[in-house]
């Protein structure tokens, strides 16, 4: 009867499918691929730093490695990973049959992939890839200071990847605002969806600034003088950090949201203090993100240090409330200690170290020493790796059954967590005393000031992290090859994604349960019992 077109071949389908779940899967796969690449770069650097002197790579290669490690992880791994979770889960959580503007989301995916490939192809050029740090600061990134096409590839890569991410973000935001199921008011959106709203609101104003800045830098390398003069280097820093600080929270909120869902599901409780959580995490935190950028420039002596110290200390309020609500969700819960929950709990503890060291560098007096030292390297790796990546694994273990219909192995997951927990703290904790004692970031070589032991410990830790990632890859392989079938709702989750099959059909839902709170599936179970 129906005259449907024949389904396209799988390869073609994977290029052109506009199903948000398929786009998100591809985005996730690419970010995982880039994660492995960025991880290898980190291992090379840690190997070089294991002892004083130059043993493994040249200084020039090392400069390329840290530039590309940071650029890969930020532009090509954690940001797209956060967006992939949003692109997959937000339409499901709000009960939509598709994402808003699916073709725009598809365009976003391929712009991102193109940008990533262009950035990495700098490795094939004669002078090597971009090597003017992940912030590409002028005047160092100008043509006469960093010659070669690798730096241009870096600029174009960052521009395209960021543009792609921005487009996807706008689709996710529009879906949450315009495609909600009947009965789902704003204050009935699940916590993860709210964190994605915070994330994408920040992207609206922050990402275009970087896109324009990259275009200006590209122009500047061919012509001249946009970032010259007494104001030039300051202008570049101001513009960059106006993007660069919000993006830190873009790389954090979605994982807080994922952990909130995990805590709710595995404690059998609704998110505690929902109103406060929405107001503090999704809105206050996001609003503050646009007013703290100057704390990256304290040592320039040319920003209003007191104002930016004030706004930066304001983060204490937003983050403190978020912790209250997350811990309150576990309180008096009935905790099933699955891998997802364990990753969530470790996330909470480790991110706290990142957060507390963040208050440290928010104080200009302390930042006058910590800036550009290993204190800062330790700080942001505790937020982005010990925090965000652990939160991401909580979300991955939680939602993997929804995405594939199969469970990840719990035993391998616990092994991975144990190895990564030890490795992470061995790698990043020694960085605080190293920085305090005067070790600068972005150096391939150091003479021994008693720094060797701590650096060796950090290097051993980084290999443990790599081992943990390997265990995860084995887990992926085993779980997909010898599937343990998960039903539609294996964890008794709180929100609508658990109301449909695993994986969901192309149109997402056959029927939707009524939505009377932000945890409709819990309502349904309570009504049934």
């Amino acid at each position: 009867m129906s005259a449907t077109l024949p389904a396209p071949a799988p390869l073609v389908d994977s290029l052109i499918s506009v199903d948000h779940k398929s786009i998100a899967r591809r985005l996730l796969a690419f970010s995982l691929l880039f994660f492995l690449g960025g991880g290898v770069m980190a291992l090379l650097m840690r190997t070089e730093l294991a002892e004083p002197g130059l043993q493994v790579v040249s200084t020039e290669t090392y400069n390329a490695l840290f530039t590309m490690h940071g650029s890969t992880m930020i532009y090509l791994v954690i940001t797209p990973l956060a967006l992939a979770l949003g692109l997959y889960m937000v339409p499901l959580q709000v009960g939509a049959k598709s994402v808003a503007w699916p073709r725009v989301a598809l365009a976003g995916l391929w712009l991102f992939v193109l940008g990533g490939i262009i950035m990495q192809s700098g490795w094939l050029t004669v002078g090597g890839p971009g090597r003017a740090t992940w912030i590409g600061v002028a005047p160092l990134s100008e043509l006469q200071r960093t010659p070669g096409s690798g730096q241009d590839f870096w600029i174009v890569g960052v521009l395209l990847a960021t543009l792609g991410e921005w487009l996807i973000g706008m689709c996710v935001l529009t879906t949450a605002l315009r495609r909600r199921a009947p009965g789902m008011t704003l204050m009935r959106m699940p916590p993860f969806t709210w964190t994605m709203i915070g994330t994408t609101l920040m992207m609206i104003f922050a990402f275009p600034v970087l896109i324009v800045l990259m275009a200006l830098l590209f122009y500047d390398r061919r012509h001249c003088c946009l970032f010259d003069g007494a104001q030039g280097p300051l202008t570049y820093q101001e513009l960059f950090w106006f993007y660069g600080h919000p993006v830190v929270y873009v790389m954090f909120f979605p994982f807080v949201g994922a952990v909130a869902e995990v805590f709710s599901a595995f404690s059998g409780r609704r998110l505690f203090g929902y109103t406060f959580f929405v107001a503090s995490t999704a809105l206050l935190f996001a609003a503050l993100s646009s007013s703290v950028w100057g704390h990256h420039m304290f040592t320039s002596g040319r920003v209003n240090t007191k104002y930016f110290a004030l706004t930066s200390h304001g983060i204490i309020l937003a983050a403190g409330l978020e912790y209250f609500d997350l811990i309150g969700t576990l309180w008096r819960g009935r905790l099933r200690m699955n891998v997802a929950l364990l990753f969530g709990i470790v996330f909470l503890l480790q991110f706290l170290i990142g957060g507390l060291s963040g208050i440290w560098v928010a104080s200009p007096t302390l930042d006058f020493n910590a800036n550009n030292s290993y204190v800062v390297v330790g700080h942001f790796h505790y937020t982005l790796f010990a925090g965000s990546v652990f939160g991401a694994f909580a979300g991955i273990f939680y939602w993997f059954p929804k995405w594939t219909g199969a469970f990840l192995r719990e035993g391998l997951g616990k092994l991975q967590l144990a190895i990564m927990f030890v490795g992470t703290n061995m790698t990043f904790a020694p960085m605080f005393p190293l920085g305090e004692r005067g070790m600068t970031r972005r150096i391939a070589n150091y003479s021994d000031h008693g720094w060797e032991t701590l650096n060796t410990i950090a290097t051993i830790g980084s290999y443990l992290i790599a081992l943990g990632v390997l265990v995860f890859l084995i887990n992926l392989y085993v779980s997909l090859r010898r599937r343990r079938v998960a039903g539609p709702d294996p964890w008794e989750g709180p929100s609508l994604e658990w109301a449909t099959t695993s994986p969901p059909p192309p149109h997402n839902f056959d029927v939707l349960p009524p939505v009377r709170s932000f945890a409709p599936m819990m309502d349904a179970r309570e009504a049934a019992s």
Partner: protein, 228 residues
């Protein structure tokens, strides 16, 4: 922990850092203990029959807690402002101080130069510079304010003295001023903290802090050498 009396960046840093470290340590310990307690007390295996708690918020408690957080933030901020005013006040104080020594700092890929401008008409400028890859010596008197004016000849650099817990960016076409007092004699490593290209890691200097009389003799000798 007297923040007022301190007149050098290191003691200002140390007293503030101690407070921040204590606060961070206490907060971490509290949260870690709560999480440990929850993980043991509320695990499902412990009491399989127990139903999860049903309370979904505690807005009054959370409101009071929010005020508590704001107080902690305000206290930390007040201490920071206080200490920051002292740090920022060092520069105008040194500029007014007739005893203050002036040193011009010039950063260039990948070495530091230190110039001691004339204090009387007709005196020659003394320049300290070492071959690239070896640290330039910054000779300064102990306990006497040093007023630095910093410039760069090419890209962004960052003058960092970890022992004095202080750094400041320098960049082309711009002169930045800051003041430091060196509280004790000895040799102190300084670096460029801002990545400045290929051999950034080699851009060191050494602060050689000497007694005032020795410094005066050293500067007089260097001026005489410069004149000849």
């Amino acid at each position: 922990m007297s923040l007022v009396a301190a007149s050098d960046t290191r003691s200002l840093y140390d007293s503030l850092a101690a407070i921040y470290l204590w606060v961070a340590g206490i907060v971490f310990a509290i949260v870690a203990l709560i999480i440990l307690y929850i993980s043991v007390r509320y695990r499902s295996g412990r009491d399989p029959e127990r139903a999860p708690g049903e309370r979904v918020d505690a807005e009054r408690t959370e409101g009071i807690y929010a005020v508590g957080l704001a107080v902690v933030a305000a206290v930390l901020l007040t201490l920071t402002f206080h200490s920051l005013s002292s740090v920022n006040g060092l520069t105008p104080a040194a500029a007014r101080d007739p005893r203050a020594l002036r040193v011009d700092v010039i950063g260039a890929q990948w070495l530091w130069r230190f110039r001691y401008p004339p204090t009387r008409p007709g005196e020659p400028t003394v320049e300290q510079v070492a071959p690239e890859g070896t640290p330039t010596q910054l000779v300064v008197p102990v306990g006497r304010p040093v007023l630095f004016t910093g410039r760069s000849q090419d890209v962004l650099h960052d003058f960092w003295l970890p022992d004095l817990k202080f750094q400041r960016q320098v960049w082309p076409d711009h002169t930045e001023r800051w003041a430091l007092t060196f509280p004790k004699t000895g040799w102190f490593t300084g670096v460029c903290a801002w990545f400045c290209g290929l051999y950034h890691q080699n851009m060191h200097f050494v602060a050689h802090v000497v007694p005032v009389a020795q410094f005066d003799r050293w500067l007089a000798r260097r001026r005489a050498e410069a004149r000849s």
